[in-house]
Amino acid sequence: MSHAAIDISNLRVQIDGQTILHDFSLAVDPGQKIALTGSSGGGKSTLLRCILGFVEPQEGQILISGHLLTGHSVWSLRHRMGYVAQEPDLGSTTVQEVLHRPFLYQANLHLAGNLDRLPDWLKRFGLNEGILSKQVGSLSGGEKQRIGLISALLLEREILLLDEISSALDKENRQAVVEALKNVQATMVIITHDEAIFELADNVVKIQPVGEGAGV
Protein backbone atom coordinates (compact mmCIF):
# COMPACT_ATOMS: atom_id res chain seq x y z
CA MET A 1 0.00 0.00 0.00
CA SER A 2 1.48 3.33 -1.00
CA HIS A 3 1.08 6.23 1.39
CA ALA A 4 0.64 9.90 0.65
CA ALA A 5 3.94 11.73 0.94
CA ILE A 6 2.23 14.22 3.22
CA ASP A 7 -1.17 13.58 4.76
CA ILE A 8 -2.54 16.37 6.93
CA SER A 9 -5.91 15.95 8.61
CA ASN A 10 -8.07 18.35 10.57
CA LEU A 11 -5.23 20.57 11.61
CA ARG A 12 -5.94 23.37 14.05
CA VAL A 13 -3.12 25.71 14.92
CA GLN A 14 -3.34 28.54 17.38
CA ILE A 15 -0.46 30.92 18.06
CA ASP A 16 -0.62 33.54 20.81
CA GLY A 17 -4.37 33.03 21.11
CA GLN A 18 -4.96 33.55 17.40
CA THR A 19 -6.26 30.70 15.26
CA ILE A 20 -4.01 30.42 12.21
CA LEU A 21 -5.32 27.17 10.72
CA HIS A 22 -8.68 25.60 11.45
CA ASP A 23 -9.75 22.09 10.42
CA PHE A 24 -7.21 22.09 7.60
CA SER A 25 -6.64 18.91 5.62
CA LEU A 26 -4.37 18.23 2.67
CA ALA A 27 -2.93 15.11 1.04
CA VAL A 28 0.06 15.29 -1.27
CA ASP A 29 0.92 12.19 -3.28
CA PRO A 30 4.54 11.10 -3.78
CA GLY A 31 6.10 13.15 -6.57
CA GLN A 32 3.22 15.63 -6.64
CA LYS A 33 4.00 19.35 -6.73
CA ILE A 34 1.57 21.56 -4.84
CA ALA A 35 1.57 25.34 -4.91
CA LEU A 36 0.14 27.02 -1.82
CA THR A 37 -1.15 30.50 -2.34
CA GLY A 38 -3.47 32.98 -0.64
CA SER A 39 -3.30 36.26 1.20
CA SER A 40 -0.67 36.80 3.89
CA GLY A 41 -1.55 35.69 7.41
CA GLY A 42 -3.43 32.70 6.00
CA GLY A 43 -1.09 30.21 7.64
CA LYS A 44 0.91 29.00 4.64
CA SER A 45 4.32 29.36 6.31
CA THR A 46 2.86 28.04 9.56
CA LEU A 47 1.71 24.94 7.69
CA LEU A 48 5.25 24.25 6.45
CA ARG A 49 6.56 24.83 9.98
CA CYS A 50 4.02 22.28 11.28
CA ILE A 51 5.19 19.71 8.73
CA LEU A 52 8.77 20.24 9.97
CA GLY A 53 7.67 19.99 13.61
CA PHE A 54 8.57 23.59 14.40
CA VAL A 55 4.97 24.43 15.36
CA GLU A 56 2.83 21.99 17.34
CA PRO A 57 -0.80 21.90 16.22
CA GLN A 58 -3.49 21.93 18.89
CA GLU A 59 -5.56 19.39 16.96
CA GLY A 60 -5.19 17.10 13.99
CA GLN A 61 -2.32 14.98 12.72
CA ILE A 62 0.39 14.95 10.11
CA LEU A 63 1.64 11.79 8.44
CA ILE A 64 4.87 11.83 6.44
CA SER A 65 5.09 8.83 4.10
CA GLY A 66 2.66 7.03 6.42
CA HIS A 67 4.54 7.84 9.62
CA LEU A 68 2.81 9.96 12.24
CA LEU A 69 4.77 13.11 13.03
CA THR A 70 5.55 13.10 16.77
CA GLY A 71 8.28 14.47 19.00
CA HIS A 72 10.02 11.13 18.62
CA SER A 73 9.58 10.47 14.88
CA VAL A 74 10.27 14.04 13.78
CA TRP A 75 14.03 13.55 14.08
CA SER A 76 14.10 10.82 11.43
CA LEU A 77 11.27 12.27 9.33
CA ARG A 78 13.23 15.50 8.91
CA HIS A 79 15.80 13.44 7.02
CA ARG A 80 13.18 12.96 4.31
CA MET A 81 12.50 16.68 3.98
CA GLY A 82 14.29 19.71 2.60
CA TYR A 83 13.24 23.22 3.52
CA VAL A 84 13.99 26.64 2.10
CA ALA A 85 12.73 29.66 4.02
CA GLN A 86 11.60 32.85 2.31
CA GLU A 87 14.53 34.82 3.64
CA PRO A 88 17.00 32.11 4.59
CA ASP A 89 19.26 32.92 7.54
CA LEU A 90 22.44 31.28 6.33
CA GLY A 91 24.58 32.50 9.23
CA SER A 92 27.69 34.64 8.99
CA THR A 93 30.17 32.54 7.08
CA THR A 94 31.16 31.78 3.50
CA VAL A 95 28.86 30.26 0.91
CA GLN A 96 31.22 27.29 0.68
CA GLU A 97 30.80 26.62 4.41
CA VAL A 98 26.99 26.99 4.16
CA LEU A 99 26.80 24.39 1.39
CA HIS A 100 29.23 21.94 3.00
CA ARG A 101 28.02 22.16 6.63
CA PRO A 102 24.89 19.96 6.29
CA PHE A 103 27.09 17.09 5.11
CA LEU A 104 28.95 17.12 8.42
CA TYR A 105 25.76 16.12 10.28
CA GLN A 106 25.69 12.44 11.19
CA ALA A 107 22.48 11.82 9.24
CA ASN A 108 23.93 13.28 6.01
CA LEU A 109 27.48 11.88 6.10
CA HIS A 110 26.61 9.24 3.50
CA LEU A 111 25.39 11.97 1.13
CA ALA A 112 28.73 13.81 0.95
CA GLY A 113 29.20 12.59 -2.64
CA ASN A 114 26.25 14.81 -3.65
CA LEU A 115 28.59 17.80 -3.38
CA ASP A 116 30.02 16.73 -6.75
CA ARG A 117 26.82 18.13 -8.27
CA LEU A 118 27.42 21.58 -6.80
CA PRO A 119 29.08 23.11 -9.91
CA ASP A 120 26.15 21.92 -12.02
CA TRP A 121 23.53 23.42 -9.67
CA LEU A 122 25.41 26.72 -9.52
CA LYS A 123 25.45 26.86 -13.31
CA ARG A 124 21.78 26.00 -13.64
CA PHE A 125 20.87 28.80 -11.24
CA GLY A 126 23.02 31.37 -13.03
CA LEU A 127 25.73 31.53 -10.35
CA ASN A 128 29.46 31.17 -10.89
CA GLU A 129 31.83 29.28 -8.64
CA GLY A 130 33.40 32.51 -7.42
CA ILE A 131 30.38 32.93 -5.15
CA LEU A 132 31.64 30.07 -2.96
CA SER A 133 34.34 32.22 -1.38
CA LYS A 134 31.96 35.12 -0.70
CA GLN A 135 30.62 35.91 2.76
CA VAL A 136 26.90 35.19 3.06
CA GLY A 137 26.35 38.72 4.36
CA SER A 138 27.52 40.19 1.06
CA LEU A 139 24.97 38.25 -1.03
CA SER A 140 21.86 39.83 -2.54
CA GLY A 141 18.43 38.51 -1.53
CA GLY A 142 18.14 36.62 -4.82
CA GLU A 143 21.57 35.01 -4.40
CA LYS A 144 20.68 33.95 -0.84
CA GLN A 145 17.46 32.35 -2.07
CA ARG A 146 19.28 30.40 -4.76
CA ILE A 147 22.03 29.28 -2.37
CA GLY A 148 19.35 28.16 0.13
CA LEU A 149 17.64 26.23 -2.64
CA ILE A 150 20.88 24.63 -3.85
CA SER A 151 21.66 23.59 -0.25
CA ALA A 152 18.28 21.82 0.00
CA LEU A 153 18.58 20.26 -3.47
CA LEU A 154 22.06 18.87 -2.75
CA LEU A 155 20.58 16.82 0.10
CA GLU A 156 18.23 15.14 -2.42
CA ARG A 157 15.29 14.82 -0.04
CA GLU A 158 12.04 13.04 -0.96
CA ILE A 159 10.00 16.07 0.06
CA LEU A 160 10.81 19.73 -0.53
CA LEU A 161 9.08 22.49 1.39
CA LEU A 162 9.75 25.78 -0.34
CA ASP A 163 8.61 29.13 1.03
CA GLU A 164 8.49 31.98 -1.52
CA ILE A 165 11.73 30.87 -3.14
CA SER A 166 11.42 33.25 -6.08
CA SER A 167 10.30 36.44 -4.32
CA ALA A 168 13.71 38.13 -4.71
CA LEU A 169 14.55 36.75 -8.16
CA ASP A 170 14.40 38.55 -11.49
CA LYS A 171 12.43 37.06 -14.38
CA GLU A 172 15.40 35.27 -15.90
CA ASN A 173 16.52 33.59 -12.68
CA ARG A 174 12.93 32.74 -11.75
CA GLN A 175 12.60 30.89 -15.05
CA ALA A 176 15.91 29.10 -14.39
CA VAL A 177 14.62 27.95 -11.00
CA VAL A 178 11.32 26.75 -12.47
CA GLU A 179 13.12 24.81 -15.20
CA ALA A 180 15.48 23.23 -12.65
CA LEU A 181 12.66 22.23 -10.29
CA LYS A 182 10.65 20.69 -13.12
CA ASN A 183 13.34 18.04 -13.42
CA VAL A 184 13.59 17.31 -9.68
CA GLN A 185 11.86 14.06 -8.76
CA ALA A 186 10.58 15.04 -5.34
CA THR A 187 7.28 15.82 -3.68
CA MET A 188 7.03 19.59 -3.38
CA VAL A 189 4.92 21.99 -1.38
CA ILE A 190 5.71 25.48 -2.63
CA ILE A 191 4.37 28.67 -1.13
CA THR A 192 4.18 31.20 -3.92
CA HIS A 193 2.33 34.04 -5.56
CA ASP A 194 4.41 33.66 -8.68
CA GLU A 195 2.63 32.66 -11.91
CA ALA A 196 5.86 31.08 -13.18
CA ILE A 197 5.92 28.69 -10.20
CA PHE A 198 2.24 27.77 -10.71
CA GLU A 199 3.42 26.45 -14.06
CA LEU A 200 5.30 23.59 -12.44
CA ALA A 201 2.60 22.75 -9.89
CA ASP A 202 0.20 19.85 -10.37
CA ASN A 203 -2.25 21.54 -8.06
CA VAL A 204 -2.76 25.00 -6.58
CA VAL A 205 -4.17 25.20 -3.05
CA LYS A 206 -5.47 28.53 -1.88
CA ILE A 207 -5.25 29.11 1.86
CA GLN A 208 -7.19 32.04 3.25
CA PRO A 209 -7.06 33.44 6.78
CA VAL A 210 -9.40 31.55 9.12
CA GLY A 211 -12.97 32.65 8.55
CA GLU A 212 -12.48 33.40 4.84
CA GLY A 213 -12.51 29.74 3.72
CA ALA A 214 -9.97 27.67 1.79
CA GLY A 215 -10.12 26.29 -1.69
CA VAL A 216 -8.28 23.87 -3.96
Binding site: G53, F54, T70, G71, M81, P88, P102, A107, N108
Partner: protein, 265 residues
Amino acid sequence: MNIQEITMVRLAVGYGLLIFPFALLLWYRIPIVGRTGLAVIRMTIQLLFVGLYLQVVFQQNSIWLNLAWLLIMILVADLSIIHGCEFRLRIFLFPLFFALIAGTSIPLVVFVGLVLKDASMTDAQYVIPIGGMILGNCLRADIIGVRGFYESIRKSEKAYLHTLAQGATQSEAIRPFIAQAYQSALAPTIATMSTIGLVSLPGMMTGVILGGAAPWTAIRYQIAIMLSIFSGTAITIILGIWLTTRSGFNVYGVLNRSLFVKDQR
Protein backbone atom coordinates in the same frame (compact mmCIF):
# COMPACT_ATOMS: atom_id res chain seq x y z
CA MET B 1 47.77 35.28 63.12
CA ASN B 2 49.94 38.36 62.56
CA ILE B 3 47.30 40.89 61.49
CA GLN B 4 46.32 44.35 62.75
CA GLU B 5 42.90 44.46 64.44
CA ILE B 6 40.23 46.91 63.24
CA THR B 7 38.16 48.12 66.17
CA MET B 8 34.56 49.28 65.68
CA VAL B 9 35.61 52.86 66.38
CA ARG B 10 38.36 52.72 63.76
CA LEU B 11 35.94 51.10 61.31
CA ALA B 12 33.62 54.04 61.86
CA VAL B 13 36.49 56.29 60.77
CA GLY B 14 36.58 54.26 57.56
CA TYR B 15 32.97 55.27 56.87
CA GLY B 16 34.29 58.84 56.76
CA LEU B 17 35.56 58.00 53.25
CA LEU B 18 31.93 58.07 52.11
CA ILE B 19 32.01 61.88 52.40
CA PHE B 20 33.63 62.14 48.95
CA PRO B 21 31.23 60.04 46.88
CA PHE B 22 28.16 61.36 48.68
CA ALA B 23 29.31 64.99 48.38
CA LEU B 24 29.79 64.50 44.62
CA LEU B 25 26.42 62.75 44.25
CA LEU B 26 24.70 65.65 46.02
CA TRP B 27 26.69 68.37 44.25
CA TYR B 28 25.87 67.00 40.80
CA ARG B 29 22.34 66.04 41.90
CA ILE B 30 22.78 62.49 40.72
CA PRO B 31 19.56 60.72 41.70
CA ILE B 32 21.14 57.63 43.26
CA VAL B 33 21.88 58.98 46.73
CA GLY B 34 19.13 56.87 48.33
CA ARG B 35 20.13 53.74 46.44
CA THR B 36 23.80 54.25 47.32
CA GLY B 37 22.98 54.78 51.01
CA LEU B 38 20.86 51.65 51.02
CA ALA B 39 23.67 49.68 49.35
CA VAL B 40 26.14 50.80 52.06
CA ILE B 41 23.67 49.84 54.81
CA ARG B 42 22.99 46.48 53.18
CA MET B 43 26.70 45.78 52.78
CA THR B 44 27.30 46.56 56.46
CA ILE B 45 24.42 44.47 57.78
CA GLN B 46 25.08 41.54 55.43
CA LEU B 47 28.79 41.42 56.25
CA LEU B 48 28.23 41.81 60.01
CA PHE B 49 25.72 38.96 59.87
CA VAL B 50 28.08 36.81 57.79
CA GLY B 51 30.95 37.67 60.15
CA LEU B 52 28.96 36.54 63.17
CA TYR B 53 27.88 33.33 61.44
CA LEU B 54 31.38 32.57 60.19
CA GLN B 55 32.76 33.05 63.70
CA VAL B 56 30.59 30.12 64.75
CA VAL B 57 31.43 28.10 61.62
CA PHE B 58 35.17 28.65 62.11
CA GLN B 59 34.99 27.70 65.80
CA GLN B 60 33.05 24.50 65.10
CA ASN B 61 35.13 23.38 62.09
CA SER B 62 32.37 20.93 61.22
CA ILE B 63 32.15 19.48 57.73
CA TRP B 64 28.33 19.65 57.96
CA LEU B 65 28.30 23.33 58.90
CA ASN B 66 30.73 24.05 56.07
CA LEU B 67 28.57 22.15 53.61
CA ALA B 68 25.42 23.88 54.83
CA TRP B 69 27.07 27.27 54.38
CA LEU B 70 28.26 26.36 50.88
CA LEU B 71 24.81 25.09 49.91
CA ILE B 72 23.20 28.32 51.10
CA MET B 73 25.74 30.35 49.08
CA ILE B 74 25.07 28.16 46.03
CA LEU B 75 21.29 28.57 46.40
CA VAL B 76 21.66 32.35 46.65
CA ALA B 77 23.95 32.33 43.59
CA ASP B 78 21.42 30.15 41.73
CA LEU B 79 18.56 32.54 42.46
CA SER B 80 20.76 35.48 41.56
CA ILE B 81 21.59 33.97 38.13
CA ILE B 82 17.92 33.20 37.41
CA HIS B 83 16.90 36.72 38.43
CA GLY B 84 19.79 38.32 36.51
CA CYS B 85 19.01 36.35 33.35
CA GLU B 86 15.22 36.85 33.68
CA PHE B 87 14.71 33.10 33.41
CA ARG B 88 11.72 31.14 34.70
CA LEU B 89 12.55 29.98 38.23
CA ARG B 90 10.60 26.70 37.85
CA ILE B 91 12.65 25.63 34.82
CA PHE B 92 16.15 26.69 35.85
CA LEU B 93 16.30 26.36 39.64
CA PHE B 94 17.44 22.73 39.89
CA PRO B 95 19.61 22.39 36.75
CA LEU B 96 21.63 25.50 37.59
CA PHE B 97 21.84 24.48 41.25
CA PHE B 98 23.50 21.20 40.26
CA ALA B 99 25.74 22.95 37.74
CA LEU B 100 26.92 25.34 40.49
CA ILE B 101 27.45 22.49 42.96
CA ALA B 102 29.66 20.63 40.45
CA GLY B 103 31.49 23.78 39.31
CA THR B 104 32.26 24.76 42.91
CA SER B 105 32.83 21.43 44.63
CA ILE B 106 35.13 19.70 42.12
CA PRO B 107 37.90 22.36 42.15
CA LEU B 108 37.28 23.01 45.88
CA VAL B 109 37.88 19.37 46.79
CA VAL B 110 41.03 19.30 44.63
CA PHE B 111 42.30 22.59 46.14
CA VAL B 112 41.60 21.76 49.79
CA GLY B 113 42.16 18.02 49.63
CA LEU B 114 45.14 17.76 47.26
CA VAL B 115 46.79 21.13 46.66
CA LEU B 116 46.89 22.31 50.29
CA LYS B 117 49.37 20.34 52.32
CA ASP B 118 47.54 19.61 55.54
CA ALA B 119 43.97 20.79 55.16
CA SER B 120 40.69 18.91 55.02
CA MET B 121 37.07 19.68 54.18
CA THR B 122 36.44 20.31 57.89
CA ASP B 123 38.75 23.37 57.84
CA ALA B 124 36.28 26.22 57.48
CA GLN B 125 39.24 28.64 57.25
CA TYR B 126 39.99 27.20 53.79
CA VAL B 127 36.70 25.70 52.62
CA ILE B 128 34.53 28.81 53.05
CA PRO B 129 36.70 31.52 51.44
CA ILE B 130 38.04 29.31 48.64
CA GLY B 131 34.55 27.92 47.92
CA GLY B 132 33.16 31.45 47.95
CA MET B 133 35.75 32.71 45.46
CA ILE B 134 35.12 29.81 43.06
CA LEU B 135 31.35 30.15 43.40
CA GLY B 136 31.41 33.92 42.80
CA ASN B 137 33.18 33.35 39.50
CA CYS B 138 30.88 30.46 38.57
CA LEU B 139 27.93 32.79 39.11
CA ARG B 140 29.37 35.42 36.78
CA ALA B 141 30.26 32.80 34.18
CA ASP B 142 26.77 31.25 34.27
CA ILE B 143 25.11 34.62 33.80
CA ILE B 144 27.22 35.27 30.70
CA GLY B 145 27.29 31.69 29.40
CA VAL B 146 23.80 30.30 30.01
CA ARG B 147 22.04 33.56 29.19
CA GLY B 148 24.26 34.06 26.14
CA PHE B 149 23.42 30.56 24.92
CA TYR B 150 19.63 30.99 25.09
CA GLU B 151 19.67 34.60 23.91
CA SER B 152 21.77 33.74 20.86
CA ILE B 153 19.47 30.86 19.91
CA ARG B 154 16.48 33.14 20.34
CA LYS B 155 18.07 35.81 18.15
CA SER B 156 19.17 33.31 15.50
CA GLU B 157 16.20 30.99 15.77
CA LYS B 158 15.69 30.95 12.00
CA ALA B 159 19.25 29.74 11.44
CA TYR B 160 18.92 27.22 14.28
CA LEU B 161 15.67 25.76 12.89
CA HIS B 162 17.17 25.68 9.42
CA THR B 163 19.93 23.48 10.83
CA LEU B 164 17.33 21.10 12.29
CA ALA B 165 15.51 21.07 8.94
CA GLN B 166 18.77 20.01 7.30
CA GLY B 167 18.78 16.88 9.45
CA ALA B 168 20.99 17.93 12.35
CA THR B 169 20.40 16.34 15.74
CA GLN B 170 19.69 18.74 18.56
CA SER B 171 23.20 18.37 19.89
CA GLU B 172 24.64 19.14 16.42
CA ALA B 173 22.34 22.16 16.06
CA ILE B 174 23.21 23.71 19.43
CA ARG B 175 26.94 23.02 19.15
CA PRO B 176 27.95 26.37 17.58
CA PHE B 177 25.80 28.24 20.11
CA ILE B 178 27.47 26.39 22.99
CA ALA B 179 30.91 27.18 21.57
CA GLN B 180 30.03 30.86 21.29
CA ALA B 181 28.54 31.06 24.81
CA TYR B 182 31.44 29.11 26.29
CA GLN B 183 33.97 31.44 24.71
CA SER B 184 32.16 34.57 25.95
CA ALA B 185 31.81 33.21 29.49
CA LEU B 186 35.45 32.14 29.79
CA ALA B 187 36.80 35.34 28.25
CA PRO B 188 36.85 37.39 31.52
CA THR B 189 38.74 34.65 33.40
CA ILE B 190 41.21 34.24 30.52
CA ALA B 191 41.73 38.03 30.43
CA THR B 192 42.26 38.07 34.20
CA MET B 193 44.82 35.25 33.99
CA SER B 194 46.66 37.11 31.24
CA THR B 195 47.07 40.34 33.20
CA ILE B 196 47.06 39.13 36.80
CA GLY B 197 49.78 40.66 38.92
CA LEU B 198 50.51 43.33 36.31
CA VAL B 199 47.41 45.50 36.67
CA SER B 200 46.55 44.88 40.33
CA LEU B 201 47.32 42.53 43.15
CA PRO B 202 44.65 39.82 43.09
CA GLY B 203 42.20 39.37 45.98
CA MET B 204 43.35 36.07 47.39
CA MET B 205 47.02 36.99 47.27
CA THR B 206 46.27 40.26 49.07
CA GLY B 207 44.29 38.38 51.71
CA VAL B 208 47.04 35.86 52.29
CA ILE B 209 49.68 38.62 52.55
CA LEU B 210 47.49 40.56 55.00
CA GLY B 211 47.14 37.33 56.98
CA GLY B 212 50.88 37.42 57.52
CA ALA B 213 52.13 34.94 54.93
CA ALA B 214 55.19 35.50 52.75
CA PRO B 215 54.52 36.81 49.19
CA TRP B 216 55.98 33.59 47.78
CA THR B 217 53.30 31.56 49.60
CA ALA B 218 50.63 34.09 48.60
CA ILE B 219 51.55 33.72 44.94
CA ARG B 220 51.19 29.96 45.07
CA TYR B 221 47.76 30.37 46.65
CA GLN B 222 46.82 32.79 43.89
CA ILE B 223 47.94 30.44 41.12
CA ALA B 224 45.99 27.57 42.70
CA ILE B 225 42.84 29.68 43.05
CA MET B 226 43.05 30.93 39.45
CA LEU B 227 43.31 27.35 38.21
CA SER B 228 40.36 26.39 40.42
CA ILE B 229 38.28 29.32 39.20
CA PHE B 230 39.04 28.57 35.56
CA SER B 231 38.19 24.91 35.98
CA GLY B 232 35.06 25.67 38.04
CA THR B 233 33.69 28.17 35.53
CA ALA B 234 34.33 25.76 32.65
CA ILE B 235 32.45 22.96 34.48
CA THR B 236 29.51 25.10 35.59
CA ILE B 237 28.91 26.70 32.16
CA ILE B 238 28.81 23.46 30.25
CA LEU B 239 26.67 21.72 32.87
CA GLY B 240 24.44 24.80 33.18
CA ILE B 241 23.73 24.63 29.47
CA TRP B 242 23.43 20.85 29.18
CA LEU B 243 21.22 20.37 32.22
CA THR B 244 18.82 23.10 31.09
CA THR B 245 18.47 21.96 27.48
CA ARG B 246 16.01 19.25 28.51
CA SER B 247 13.46 21.84 29.58
CA GLY B 248 14.92 24.61 27.39
CA PHE B 249 13.66 22.92 24.20
CA ASN B 250 10.52 20.96 23.41
CA VAL B 251 10.59 17.40 22.10
CA TYR B 252 10.74 18.73 18.54
CA GLY B 253 13.95 20.62 19.37
CA VAL B 254 12.27 24.05 19.29
CA LEU B 255 13.32 26.65 21.88
CA ASN B 256 10.86 26.82 24.76
CA ARG B 257 9.75 30.46 24.78
CA SER B 258 8.41 30.20 28.32
CA LEU B 259 12.02 30.13 29.56
CA PHE B 260 12.12 33.88 29.60
CA VAL B 261 10.09 35.86 32.10
CA LYS B 262 9.79 38.77 29.64
CA ASP B 263 8.14 36.52 27.03
CA GLN B 264 5.45 35.58 29.53
CA ARG B 265 4.37 39.13 30.25
